[in-house]
Symmetry: C2
Subunit: 201 residues, 2 copies
Amino acid sequence: MSADERRTQLVEAAIQVMCRDGVAGATTRAIVAEAGVPLGVFHYCFRSKEELLQEVLETIVGRGLHAALSTVGRRRTPRAAMRASLRALWEVVEKNPEEHLVTYELTQYALRQQGLAALARRQYDHYVTSNVRYFEALADATGVRWKKPLPFVARLVATQLDGITLRWLVDRDTEQALAMLDACVDQVLSLTRPARVTGRS
Amino acid sequence: MSADERRTQLVEAAIQVMCRDGVAGATTRAIVAEAGVPLGVFHYCFRSKEELLQEVLETIVGRGLHAALSTVGRRRTPRAAMRASLRALWEVVEKNPEEHLVTYELTQYALRQQGLAALARRQYDHYVTSNVRYFEALADATGVRWKKPLPFVARLVATQLDGITLRWLVDRDTEQALAMLDACVDQVLSLTRPARVTGRS
DNA sequence: GTCTATAGGAAGATAGAC
DNA sequence: GTCTATCTTCCTATAGAC
């Protein structure tokens, strides 16, 4: 097995351990045990544990594990489309609560480490750009126009999703989470003008 | 010095250490060093480190360190009043970034610990009830009426503040944070009807 | 109650045989 | 490269003198 495969294997194992036991529980020993490799392997794949954690963070960011809007469904109104997108996203959240909890833990870990704060920023910017793409697609599909800069709208939604997700991780109140998602839709729609013509481009 | 004073002394020291070095850095040694007491003191004040952490969490929750609305200023319109309240709250956040970061870390710590999840829930409920009281006062002062149940409005705002704060801790973009606070005001106002009579009760 | 000294274990990292 | 055995350090917790 190549050294590079080994690295990804350990990164995946680390993520699994983190989901189960938290970031604090992801010791080098727990990680290699999860991967089924001897302890010594760790240090000829990674210079240090911090190097592994950095790669874990990059992997999670790249994977877009966190809550960000993606595909626009084929719906009539912007409201129906965005509502459906948010519901789809929310299913992902509720299916992998641990993974999302890990994301929050890693963000905070990054904020505490000198030099990793930039990674946390990249992570959060990633959500915004994803949402920008989404809203461009939504405008394209439904013809809505924006009253505010798209990056601002995207940021608003990313931030709300962040808060809603964290809240849900605490109390697991799905009903309230869905209600807040709907409120988020209303808020975004209040920042739009109706389509100039009712057709699509 | 009484045993009870010692406990609070250590709890305060723990909070200070956590602000500086994070929850992970708050070892028993670091805490007693911060408090200026010998290591042995720790274990005749607390049965274990977990017992201390629990008291730290309760202290922070009770103190309402986290973002929740409080006093209603004397303003003409609901918009001006709520905007001022949010700005006041935001000043507190920006003055103590570390303390707020600690709050997030502790929440996640609690979510990982068997039996402490209830404390995290209490913590988050606390923000909602604070906001409920605030909005009651706001209605009282300005005469606005609510289209949605007050607990829902309160929860919405608590969740948004949570997201906005976390986002700001990552990128420290004050301008964007303030813009999102304003959007939050608009959202809340869209859930109100204007006052029946323009005077106050 | 108070504090020193130390136990006992787990952590990250390495040395060195193969 | 691979893995075992070990080093060093730091942790929580306790034992026991005062």
